[in-house]
């Protein structure tokens, strides 16, 4: 039980570990897409996790437990980072903070569809979900799309959401 508690304490701090790894990688100015840097930080984090696991009685359940906690925390951390990258809510808060207050018209002027879409296109190109060929954007991988259609639409249906904007 004591070794399990040690593992638990380590896992409590695992978001901090992933954050520190992410900071180190970002500070090295590695020329890789931002999503790849996140995955790299997550994967490197498995080395210290493996080390801590070596002190615990390594049953399958303990390994599954550690993997679930570490991966879930890392996933949440990367969502947090992605929010700071592209979330419109955060950008609007940032602009209100910068200027003190904003009128609705000013918010609409700040966020042009072209900027919002362009940023997503760059990210999707980086992730190789789409490709740019002779000025035309094409779907390259159907993985994200399959997840979008199957999982997201299905879960929206389960939760009782009716239309896109709800």
């Amino acid at each position: 039980m004591n070794s399990l508690i040690s593992l638990g304490v380590f896992l409590c701090f695992s978001p901090l570990l992933v954050f520190l790894l992410h900071v180190s990688i970002c500070r090295f100015k590695v020329r890789l897409p931002i999503q790849t840097l996140q995955i790299l930080a997550y994967l490197i984090g498995f080395f210290p996790l493996y080390y801590v696991l070596s002190f615990v009685e390594q049953t399958t359940a303990a390994v599954v437990y550690a993997f679930l906690v570490y991966s879930s925390f890392s996933y949440t951390y990367f969502h947090f980072f992605n929010m700071s990258e592209t979330a419109r809510r955060i950008k609007i808060l940032y602009e209100i903070n910068r200027t003190g207050f904003l009128k609705e018209k000013e918010i609409l002027c700040l966020y042009k569809t072209s900027d919002i879409v362009q940023k997503r296109l760059v990210r999707l190109l980086d992730m190789r979900e789409i490709a740019l060929e002779a000025g035309r954007y094409k779907l390259q991988s159907h993985l994200l799309l399959a997840v979008a259609i199957l999982l997201i639409n299905w879960w929206r249906l389960v939760l009782g959401f009716r239309d896109k904007s709800e």
């Binding site: 900071v23 100015k29 949440t76 950008k91 003190g100 966020y111 954007y137």
Partner: protein
């Protein structure tokens, strides 16, 4: 021991998920993000501590169970905005799926509407009490101020600035 803790963590997470689905189908709360926090993060530990009066369970076990429950719940809470409103990235992919020969950026842009993309998010900010409306201007709430200062500090540590868009 690890097996029972792992199972307990997974089961309590799915229990909360079931409760969340039932509640959403009956009457989705206006402040849905806040309610999700209460359902997934605050109610389960109250039940766990109350269970100690009827069943001998150590605080160490509660800690390890809650750690798994908390991490899984955190991952779901972080994903929830994707279900709340279709993200532009996914919308782009769905549009592209209809054009096997590809499409130009201009064609893609014609599918989007400035007002809808931004207005929905402003409404979310008001509902989650991160911003407040005074006559015709939007201001930060104290919580909104703390949230944005955290993000600014966080990006500074990463060596990244804040970009708009």
């Amino acid at each position: 021991m690890a097996l029972s803790l792992t199972l307990a963590g997974i089961l309590s997470f799915f229990g909360c998920l079931l409760f969340h689905v039932i509640l959403w189908r009956l009457n989705r709360p206006r402040n849905d993000s806040g309610t999700i926090f209460v359902i997934f993060l605050f109610i389960p530990p109250i039940f766990a501590v109350a269970a100690r009066f009827f069943y001998p369970v150590s605080f160490a076990s509660i800690f390890l169970w809650y750690l798994l429950h908390f991490s899984l719940s955190g991952a779901y809470i972080a994903t929830y905005p994707v279900f709340q409103a279709i993200s532009p990235s996914l919308e782009i992919l769905l549009i592209m799926d209809n054009y096997p020969e590809g499409l130009e950026a201009q064609t893609l842009l014609s599918y989007f509407n400035d007002r809808r993309l931004v207005k929905e998010r402003v409404r979310d900010l008001l509902n989650s009490r991160l911003a407040k409306k005074k006559t015709d201007t939007y201001h930060l709430s104290p919580v909104g101020f703390c949230v944005i200062r955290t993000f600014i500090a966080y990006r500074k540590i990463l060596g990244l600035g804040f970009q708009t868009g």
